[in-house]
């Protein structure tokens, strides 16, 4: 693996330097950003991890030194939010997290990127910003129409089963509806010491599809009417359902599972079902580390009484407004999301690219067929559906992060038996209203 990596790096350094005109003239003498230290921070996920492996290529090309920081999702968001809010210069490149994108962009904490893209000295002509899915660029665009982030992932929440053989043994099919899911889980829970269901504790992401499926929603009518609707009867029913999944069929400590733990649990075959983005699910197809690769099956999130509403998410790379190395930062973003780099990632098994050219490519489609399941098609279908129904509007709201955290706590409370669904959601509702008011939102 390391050898291959070194070869890839060497080859790509040679190849890329020929293809990137911006650096061609710098090859002769001093490198363009010699002596510059770039601080890049994003949360730990598949694409950033791949980028970390490719960093030497960038450093060789530009002479810049990259400090790469990738903490967990909640820690990253908290640190980035803090740093951005003070317009600090500690980071040059940050991840524009999907639930925070509206908050960060519309508060003026990020740098508009249009000028960098249009500048031929900084961006080669064939870099093609329009190659990125319009649906992926939309959340990265501010109210002023300018682009503030370049997306590196467009993912959808999908359902996965690591031990589908157990489901088949019980004579059942892949669950389609929420009722089916419970039936299947009851049949397979604890068989061969495999717990039934787990999901990552970011319930503001993993629970909302179920909230929608039962007919509830986060706000009354985002983005215009932001009055939270967390304690409606539909929401309560959804929360009860979801929390009972965790309580009855979850492994020990289910409510503390991080996305990586979930992926690990499925790879090792300790837990059967989960809902996760293909960002994580694609890793289950890694033959080297996945013990359950032969018994995997994927599907869409279950349909509820009100329909099927898969969650979608877009993350992008952006430049904080306080950064002191904006050109170098743009060089990094431009390299990290160039066609060459994204294609390399896709070839390495990366599951949720944001470039149309990658999504349509043969290599991507081939790699994403895992154990006979076409993960890419499932994801695309979900993303199509989301853009049609518009049910993801709730998270483009700048005050969503606060509500997101209330949802996290509420589901944790219900699943651990500390409160009934009604109590927990009423509490979440009341606190969300307080927080929205505190954030200056008029309700």
């Amino acid at each position: 693996m390391t050898q291959r990596r070194h070869l890839l790096q060497a080859a790509s350094a040679l190849g890329a330097s020929a293809l990137l005109p911006g650096f061609a003239h710098a090859q002769s003498g001093a490198k363009k950003f010699q002596g510059v230290t770039l601080n890049v921070s994003t949360f730990s996920a598949a694409y950033p991890k791949l980028l970390q492996q490719y960093l030497p290529e960038f450093e060789a090309l530009t002479g810049a030194k990259v400090n790469y920081d990738a903490p967990s999702f909640p820690v990253y968001n908290q640190r980035a939010d803090l740093e951005l809010s003070t317009k600090g210069s500690a980071y040059d490149v940050v991840n524009v997290t999907f639930i925070y994108s509206s908050r960060w962009i519309n508060s003026g904490w990020l740098t508009p990127l249009d000028d960098f893209i249009r500048n031929p000295n900084l961006t080669p002509a064939d870099w093609d910003v329009n190659d990125f899915l319009p649906g992926a660029r939309a959340p990265e665009t501010g109210r002023d129409g300018k682009l503030y982030g370049i997306p590196w992932t467009a993912e959808a929440l999908l359902s996965a089963s690591s031990r589908f053989d157990l489901v088949q043994q019980a004579g059942l099919a892949y669950p389609e509806t929420t009722d089916d899911l419970v039936k299947v889980l009851r049949a397979v829970n604890k068989k061969e010491r495999v717990a039934g269901f787990v999901s990552d504790s970011h319930y503001g992401w993993t629970f909302v599809p179920y909230l929608h499926a039962f007919g509830g929603d986060v706000f009354r009518k985002a983005p215009d009417d932001l009055y939270p609707t967390l304690d409606t009867p539909e929401a309560i029913a959804a929360a009860e359902y979801y929390a009972s999944l965790l309580r009855e069929f979850g492994p020990d400590g289910a409510i503390t599972y991080t996305p990586d733990q979930v992926t690990q649990a499925l790879k090792l075959g300790r837990v059967n079902f989960t809902d996760a983005g293909q960002l994580h699910l694609a890793q289950l197809g890694d033959a080297a580390t996945s013990k359950t690769i032969k018994t995997l099956k994927f599907g869409q999130v279950p349909k509820g009484p009100a329909g099927r509403f898969p969650g979608t998410a877009v993350h992008g790379l952006g430049i904080p407004v306080g950064s002191k190395n904006k050109e170098a930062a743009w060089a990094f973003i431009q390299w990290a999301l160039s066609k060459q780099t994204t294609r390399k990632a896709v070839l390495a098994g990366y599951g949720s690219p944001a470039r149309r050219s990658d999504i349509d490519s043969q290599e991507f489609r081939a790699k994403q067929v895992i154990n006979g399941n076409d993960l890419a098609q499932l994801a695309l279908d979900s993303i199509e559906q989301a853009s049609r129904t518009g049910h993801m509007k709730y998270r483009t709201v700048s005050v969503y992060p606060q509500v997101d955290q209330q949802l996290n706590k509420a589901i944790a409370l219900i699943a651990s038996g500390q409160a009934s669904a009604k109590q927990a959601l009423q509490q979440a509702q009341a606190q969300s209203i307080t927080e929205l008011k505190r954030a200056g939102q008029s309700l």
């Binding site: 939010d81 606190q431 307080t434």
Partner: protein, 305 residues
């Protein structure tokens, strides 16, 4: 014999000495003022506003100075955090006192072995708190914990303590006790040294057994130390952070969210600086009151002798 000099006002040389001392003292006073009183004042000022960095200029207003404090009274999560804090502090201080006292009594001997073990027992207290948190994170994670696996091997599988709302706070209390019992142990050991020999000799010659010796002679002597120790640990317990940050993140739910942690979340998750300042002021007030109490008791202890 006094270790201070009696200064005669007016004498040229004495005045020069006083000036010299003042010069020695001033840098410290200036620095302490700058880094403690000024920030405290800034904190107080901020607590009267709804300062939030999404709109710094707009929210730095004093229209309603007590708005944050009013919110605090209505904020259930804050009130619960105080209850949680008290629960955690009470349980861990009580445990620390008990364990520290017991160990001090056991190790109060003169062999080299006991001396070495006394030094070894200091380790938990001086470890960086984050390392303590990591140690207990490993012990409380069923997948890798030797304790969990041993229990499972003998047929008594135990579910994760930190993911269970009923046991999460106790789990933290236990880790906190492990970290800080050496403090009590040390202070009690030092106090045990001061217990005069004569009453002990006399009583044991009269036939008193060890328990009676302890109860009627030793304990009264060390009781003031135990009180001061307990208060010290109580105040320090308000600062509890790394354990909660690493082990439970305030959860499950908010069952291990203490006031300090709640303040941290308010300040650093969404930059509600004004509100967080108000929370910090409340904690400071509590710390101040308790410190004053400690100061009184500590000083009184000295005066009695």
């Amino acid at each position: 014999m006094s270790t201070t000099l009696i200064l005669h006002p007016g004498t040229g040389w004495e005045a020069a000495r006083r000036r010299a001392f003042l010069w020695g003292l001033l840098p410290s006073l200036a620095v302490l003022l700058a880094i403690t009183l000024v920030p405290a004042a800034a904190l107080l000022v901020a607590s009267f506003t709804l300062l939030s960095l999404t709109d710094a200029a707009g929210t730095f207003r004093f229209d309603d100075p007590l708005v944050n404090y009013r919110h605090l009274l209505e904020d259930e999560r804050f009130l619960r955090s105080i209850a949680t804090q008290l629960k955690l502090s009470a349980s861990s201080v009580a445990l620390q006192l008990a364990v520290g006292l017991a160990l001090a009594l056991l190790l109060n001997g003169r062999s080299k072995l006991l001396g070495a073990t006394r030094t070894a027992f200091l380790i938990p207290m001086v470890l960086p708190p984050i390392v303590v948190a990591l140690i207990w994170k490993i012990l409380y994670t069923p997948d890798v914990s030797p304790v969990h696996r041993a229990l499972e091997a003998v047929g008594l599988p135990v579910r994760s303590l930190i993911a269970n709302p009923d046991t999460a706070l106790w789990a933290i209390s236990l880790a906190d006790t492990w970290q800080w019992f050496p403090f009590t142990m040390l202070m009690v050991l030092a106090a045990l040294q001061m217990v005069p020999d004569e009453p002990l000799e006399a009583a044991s010659l009269d036939g008193a057994n060890r328990w009676q010796l302890f109860r009627y002679i030793v304990f009264p002597h060390i009781r003031p130390v135990l009180v001061v120790c307990g208060l010290f640990r109580l105040i320090d317990s308000f600062k509890a952070f790394p354990l909660i940050y690493v082990l439970t993140d305030g959860g499950p739910g908010t069952v291990t969210e203490v006031t300090n942690y709640y303040g941290f979340i308010q300040a650093f998750n969404f930059s509600y600086w004004g509100y967080a300042s108000a929370i910090a002021m409340v904690i400071l007030a509590g710390v101040f009151a308790l410190s004053w109490l400690v100061g009184r008791l500590g000083w009184n202890d000295h005066d009695k002798r």
